[in-house]
Symmetry: C2
């Protein structure tokens, strides 16, 4: 099919090694030789075969990204930023959607590890020991959660969550519902955070813990329980759920923020793509993705180095969905 190094070498009157070096170690070949080789390469439309190069070098030049659900905007934005960063590092990206099943995700990760130089796991649902086992087998970086002894880029939620509760408290809300899920990596820590923040600001916390996924429909269902809870504000675990809560309240004829205030966490474009736009605990998804790639590249370069953490700040972004608590 396409030209090989041998072809270029012949045409340029040099050996294949020289051709190889003009592409991988340009400084080591004399300028005029290099020019000659490049000219021939251009004429023959040659570029080094990546597969062959991978085999010889023992590295593929590709990174693997695993996400539970690509269509979820949170992960969509992560994929986007990872892909962008990977490209600037001249790395191709393998993408796999894992779904929620631990074992399958583990198997997929293992398989992908064999064809990449390293793995990026975004919001993995699997237990810590599986993650550790993967990390032990090859370069791995985590995005969106914090697991000790592992490279991770994650959002520091306490600050943002505390701001959210304080914001509600300042608006006169004394009782808030927290719509949580069961299947996400950050669920447990989240609950602790919420309790702490609510205690601090003397707010009563009603936990609406699903045994449900964080979807629009479940948020909508959760909305039905809000009016009877005695609460005047809702904090939703992510944008999809918040959307559902908003939709559910609207269907009941309740006004946001007139009857209930609503705060979401994550702040993907969904938070703005709704009326009223949602006050949100902003999570720097872009930065998480980019740092995740950087961590992974660092790990690939230095497999033995100590684990590194990148904690990104979160902050409350006030929009239209929060207002004064209605008079009792």
């Amino acid at each position: 099919m396409s030209a090989t190094m041998a072809d270029v070498a012949r045409e340029a009157g040099v050996s294949a090694s020289t051709v190889s070096r003009t592409f991988s170690l340009p400084e080591t070949v004399r300028a005029d030789t290099r020019e000659r080789v490049l000219a021939v390469a251009r004429r023959l439309d040659f570029s080094p075969n990546r597969t062959a190069s991978s085999l010889a070098r023992g590295r593929t030049g590709a990174l693997g990204l695993l996400v539970p659900d690509i269509a979820n905007p949170y992960f969509g934005e992560i994929v986007k930023s990872v892909q962008r960063r990977a490209r600037t590092a001249d790395r191709a990206l393998f993408l796999t959607e894992t779904g929620d099943a631990h074992d399958e995700a583990y198997g997929l990760a293992k398989a992908m590890a064999r064809q990449t130089d390293g793995l990026l796991l975004a919001g993995p649902r699997m237990p810590e020991d599986m993650l550790r086992s993967l990390a032990a087998a090859g370069p791995v970086a985590l995005i969106g959660l914090h697991v000790p002894q592992t490279d991770c880029a994650y959002a520091e939620l306490p600050v943002g969550m505390r701001q959210a509760v304080r914001h509600l408290a300042a608006l006169g809300h004394r009782r808030i519902v927290y719509v949580n899920g069961t299947r996400t990596a950050r669920t447990a820590g989240f609950r602790r955070l919420m309790r702490a923040a609510c205690d601090e600001f003397r707010v009563e916390l009603v936990e609406h813990l699903g045994p449900f996924d964080l979807t629009y429909d479940n948020g909508r269902a959760a909305a039905d329980l809000v009016p009877t809870s005695g609460a005047t504000a809702v904090i939703a675990h992510n944008d999809m759920v918040a959307h559902g809560v908003a939709g559910g309240l609207a269907r009941q004829g309740r006004s946001v923020p007139g009857d209930f205030s609503l705060i979401t966490v994550d702040d993907t474009y969904l938070a703005r793509a709704i009326h009223p736009a949602l006050t949100a605990v902003h999570v720097p998804i872009d930065a998480m993705g980019a740092h995740g790639v950087d961590l992974l590249l660092a790990r690939i370069a230095d497999p033995q180095g100590p684990p590194r953490l990148v904690a990104l700040p979160t902050a409350l972004t006030v929009r239209e969905s929060t207002g004064r608590a209605p008079a009792p």
Copy 2:
């Protein structure tokens, strides 16, 4: 690092060829030999090195997917279905986001073509001759648009669009705004369709043609122009824009469908993740992605075959955003 065929061969007392064959052509190896080899392979945690295999075979086993914007739910859902289908075909997936720049997209496609067996282009923005040139260079399948002489899986919009206009006409709407964009593959055909449908049902068409991208914010801006247009219904080019229009109207205090009816095209989950849920021309994104993969695999298997088209049906899904036109 990990075991090679030579290792397994030695342990199992056979040659490397036999090991190779027990993995790639199991039927050609006698049952008991095969078992022995597999047992050793399992013990040594061996699996064939994909890179080496790719090099020897001249095929990588991977497919490449290019999308303009991953975070757009339309493409998110395409990525999802492509990825799923690719996996069942035991193919890894390379993902690249191209953005809107033609040349860059072309370059990325070229680069990706070298490390995959074939390319899937979803909603590419580049001109037809570039697409043809790519298709001439290697297996390519298009998703979401129809280019003559090329393998494509696309949605047959006339039916759905016609239904949408008929639906509005039946509800008494005599004048509708069509919020279009400029940068999408289907823009031109779309306009023709809209005109034809409106003529057929005696509806006046107001084209609100952006020079804008199909984003939430632009939809929102478009909403400001709707009330003065004299129209009572809006058809938006995709879900993001429709979301924007809905948000914009809500901000103006207009009711949907009380004051204005709204129909969207695509019907990603966004169409339901809003209140009121949007009546939509449903596009079978899942099927498009899956068929795209199938077309590509067929093309890879038979590079010379005639081009194949898969036209998927669209249909109107009525939800809550359309109702009788308000009395004049």
